[in-house]
Amino acid sequence: MSAPAPTVAALARGLAEGAFSSVELTRAYLERIAAAQPSLNAFITVTGESALKAAAEADAARAAGRAGRLTGVPIGHKDIFCTEGVLTTCGSKMLGNFVSPYDATIVSALRAAGTVMLGKLNMDEFAMGSSNETSHFGPVRNPWDTQMVPGGSSGGSAASVAARIVPAATATDTGGSIRQPAALCGVTGIKPTYGRCSRYGMIAFASSLDQAGLITVSAEDAALLLGPMSGFDPRDSTSVDSPVPDYTATLGDSLQGLTIGLVREFFDKGLDAACEQRIRDAIAVYEKLGAKVREVSCPNLPLSVPTYYVVAPAECSSNLARFDGVRFGHRCDSPKNLLDLYCRSRGEGFGAEVKRRIMTGTYVLSAGYYDAYYLKAQRVRQLISADFARAFKECDLLFGPTTPTPAFRIGAKCDDPITMYLNDIYTIGANLAGLPGMSIPCGFVDGLPIGLQIVGPHFSEARMLNVAHRYQQETDWHLKTPSAFA
């Protein structure tokens, strides 16, 4: 069965016009999910029964004249978001039996906006990975070629949107976990400004970097869903109290006078030549739309990956200290004493990459090393942030590739953590500086999608979505669907 419509915007229109009901729509997506699960492994939990119930409620609300723009639209949630009464695993054996007692703020906000949850999407364990291979529930596969990785950590979100088995999905981005899989799967991803969307109920990895966002088919869909997800939440101490515009209102704005900065450091020797050509082609489209292009430099950006691999593991080692085998999560059998209970529960419950990052973080925070590693990295972070601030004095938005190469083969980079970490070389900078970033599909290399990255100043989501939308009106890369899932 083919997907009922290509975008959330089209589905919302169909629902409003009565072309189909939410129950019909939800049933159609549940069938697509079941058919694709053996080949993609994109879901950890499918919540079919509750989805159909929510869809029936959405249809009833519409019949009663109480429908909003998103009423009855089905979506998927990354399994990092707590969902009350539903298994919430974060891709880990540690939380393999965890049924959340509460909802994440963005989950309840999107429900209040009328969306219907189809289920919980697979991901790298605790969002630590760039290929979805660290999930305790097995790797997700790329719908464009199932021998390839979908990227990570939001691999289930990206693969399921690309295969049109969900219309849109929530995701999170700590070092590129929305933008990188969006690029590798040929879909649209937005990581908003740090603090734009609440982190309450989003299982913490690195709290100064983590941000919730979306993976969608189009920028217009992202604009529709981002509004309800955004805004101040007193339950998240780093939530920023800044007004939320209607992101759909400015989608069609002209790009005349827009200045695009091409970041010199993004076009380094690591960038695949064919990928670079697709990015240059996309920039030519923007010039036709009236944008001016200039080169800018962020000289400290090449230090973003080593900076990240101090800061993120440090924060991860403290955040994951809560998994102690006492209050929730995995507990080892017949512990000899309390220390044995902690050590074996954690040793058994966490996978190899999570343990690697906890140990890296423990070391950089340990006595005698804190200044040399953690404080040093936080100083370099300041330099990187200042580079971006300087660049934004010369241009409105920064453009570059999202990833250095298209999707790679499953298993190809598992043996060397550094090679794997370098997948995020172009995306990490935005996280370190708290900036919003997007990836939009801009072509193919050898049948695999390529993403154009857009990075903006703090709280420039409306402008970024407008800039992405105008490109998507000129091109149809975002509407391409892998033939196996057409």
Partner: protein, 96 residues
């Protein structure tokens, strides 16, 4: 930078992680590589630069009044606990 088996055992102990015999050499190798890699930061010119305290410039950590805002949901929360009795979390005996 090269770490030894003893370093890894010490880090694992601090992190409260039990490693298997097979895991130890894997982490000796990969953590050595990671610390060699992050060693690049040494050459960054950070003299006189303050460490970043918040990703949003000019923003400090928000504080709230010290008021009780949560209701007691102990029974619900304990449904996820591996072992409870009479509302208490059970662990092996700590004091003999």
């Amino acid at each position: 930078m090269s770490l030894t088996r003893a370093d890894i055992e010490n880090i694992a102990r601090l992190a409260r992680l039990e490693l298997t015999e097979a895991e130890i050499p894997v982490y000796v190798d990969s953590l050595s590589k990671i610390f060699a890699f992050v060693g690049e930061l040494d050459r960054a010119p950070t003299a006189g630069i303050d460490p970043m305290a918040h990703p949003m410039p000019g923003l400090a950590q928000r504080l709230r009044a010290d008021e009780v805002t949560e209701t007691n949901r102990r029974d619900t929360f304990q449904q996820n606990a591996p072992k409870v009795e009479a509302g208490l979390y059970l662990v092996p005996k700590v004091i003999e």
